[in-house]
């Protein structure tokens, strides 16, 4: 590769929102990781054991905040897909891609911790007619399909368009899955105990752990998305330079 076309392409690349991230220590990620660790320690050693459910209840401090992280990430993917189809901004597409991958991780955590709790409390690993359970499972399938679809396409513009179309259709599908399972629903899922009209019914120590867990997992969610976004930027930079210096 000669230097002249490379620098020219570097300029065009920069104008499309690509800048090489500096290889520094990721402080944000370290902070998020430490706060998750701290919350786990607090949940295990410094939070009282729930009287009815026993130690099994402590899985909540991972399960529910992970669900929040998953919804945030899925929401960002859907939103950025609309932005991408509308403005054709590559940054939106990279953000959608990064969030989808993080969403898959968080949903996997939700789907793993949920049955562990349910086995102890409901007496069954899996309950199909529970709305949130089934719904989360299908969310996992849609996000997985989204990532596999993207993985199967070489051309960046086409990858962005296809991904965005699938993400938007997936967003349209969600109410239908919800409605369908609702008709089945036996409403076995525990009802919200924090976000409800009257005062939260958790004891103060548990509530603090819960809220800290929400903060920690939200931090982790954003830190992961940011780290994954940087990988996408670097991949696109490599592709841009290769396309410039290759056979063409």
């Amino acid at each position: 590769m000669t230097s002249a076309p490379a620098s020219a392409s570097a300029r065009t690349v920069l104008s499309s929102g690509l800048t090489a991230p500096k290889p520094i220590f990721d402080w944000f990620f370290a902070l998020a990781g430490l706060s998750v660790l701290a919350v786990v320690v607090r949940a295990i050693y410094f939070t009282p054991i729930e009287a009815l459910q026993g130690a099994a209840q402590k899985i909540y401090y991972i399960h529910v905040p992970s669900a929040l992280g998953a919804y945030i990430a899925v929401g960002i993917t859907a939103l950025m897909s609309i932005v991408y189809l509308w403005l054709h901004d590559e940054r939106a597409d990279r953000l959608a891609e990064a969030s989808a991958e993080v969403a898959l991780v968080f949903i996997t955590v939700v789907l793993t911790t949920g049955p562990i709790w349910a086995h102890k409390i409901w007496g069954a690993w899996w309950v199909w007619w529970d709305m949130r359970l089934t719904f989360t499972l299908f969310l996992w399938f849609i996000v997985a399909a989204y990532l596999v679809l993207r993985d199967g396409i070489e051309d960046a513009a086409m990858r962005g368009r296809y991904g965005a179309v699938l993400a938007i259709l997936g967003a349209l599908l969600i109410p239908f899955i919800h409605l369908s399972v609702y008709l089945f629903s036996a409403r076995l899922h525990p009802m919200p105990v924090v976000l409800k009209p009257d005062k939260p019914s958790l004891p103060p120590e548990m509530l603090t752990t819960f809220l800290l867990a929400f903060v920690a997992f939200t931090l982790l969610c954003f830190a992961l998305i940011r780290a994954r976004y940087r990988i996408a930027v670097q991949r696109d930079l490599v592709t841009a330079f290769e396309g410039d210096g290759g056979s063409r």
Binding site: A145, G152, L173, F176, I177, L179
Partner: protein, 223 residues
């Protein structure tokens, strides 16, 4: 636009009618699956008539996938899709034409599969079976709307046929759930009003996804 769409559909059906390979293989697959499912349960525990709705919808979904796969892969050969794109018809018309072609293709398969189901599972022939056929048509509209779009997307990826089930099946889930629930009630000779909540979701799904997929289709083509 509908005139152009019909031309595209007729072209696809003419190709299919002259070769008949896809139709025959999808049909044999469907009837074969009906037979295999018969032996999957103990006859003395669950009566065949009670299994029929579940079997019908599983077989229907997978035979639909077989039919849909072919929809855009036949255009890849000799780059027929390019000829379609330069022709003076709108991209929405191409999508609708492809979808109508697929719908007729799949309905033709079901027209043989449903009587075969009645035959093998000893279902009463009469009004319930007519209602089931109507539910199948409702469900097929939704399946074809989503499946045609994903078929167009899948052929352009490295994974091609492998990707179509993974993309489509999550979208088939609400259709299959509601259609199977309604079918169970209809075949048990319950009043139609009892199936109405499930049918309402089916109809809403058809409306939303026919419109959404028609609008989304132009984005899946090369600019």
């Amino acid at each position: 636009m509908m005139g152009a769409a019909w031309l595209v559909a007729r072209k696809d059906l003419a190709i299919e009618f002259r070769t008949r390979t896809a139709f025959f293989s999808a049909l044999v697959f469907a009837v074969l699956a009906l037979c295999i499912f018969y032996f999957a349960w103990d006859e003395s525990i669950i009566a065949p008539a009670q299994r029929a709705p579940g079997v019908l919808w599983v077989v229907l979904a997978f035979s639909a996938l077989l039919g849909l796969q072919r929809s855009f892969s036949i255009e890849e050969h000799d780059r027929g899709i390019d000829a379609l794109l330069v022709s003076p018809i709108s991209r929405e018309a191409i999508y609708l034409g492809k979808a109508i072609g697929n719908l007729l293709f799949l309905c033709a398969i079901q027209l043989i599969t449903i009587p075969a189901l009645a035959l093998f599972y000893n279902l009463p022939i009469g009004r319930p079976l007519m209602v089931v056929t109507a539910i199948v048509l409702l469900a097929m509209i939704g399946i074809v709307a989503v499946g045609t779009l994903f078929s167009a997307m899948a052929v352009n990826t490295r994974l091609a046929e492998l990707l179509l089930p993974m993309l489509s099946l999550p979208f088939f889930v609400p259709i299959l759930m509601n259609a199977a629930q309604a079918t169970t009630r209809v075949l048990a000779d319950r009043p139609l009003a009892e199936s109405w909540p499930w049918l309402k979701i089916l109809i809403a799904f058809d409306l939303v996804f026919v419109v959404a997929c028609t609008l989304a289709f132009p984005f899946t083509l090369e600019e």
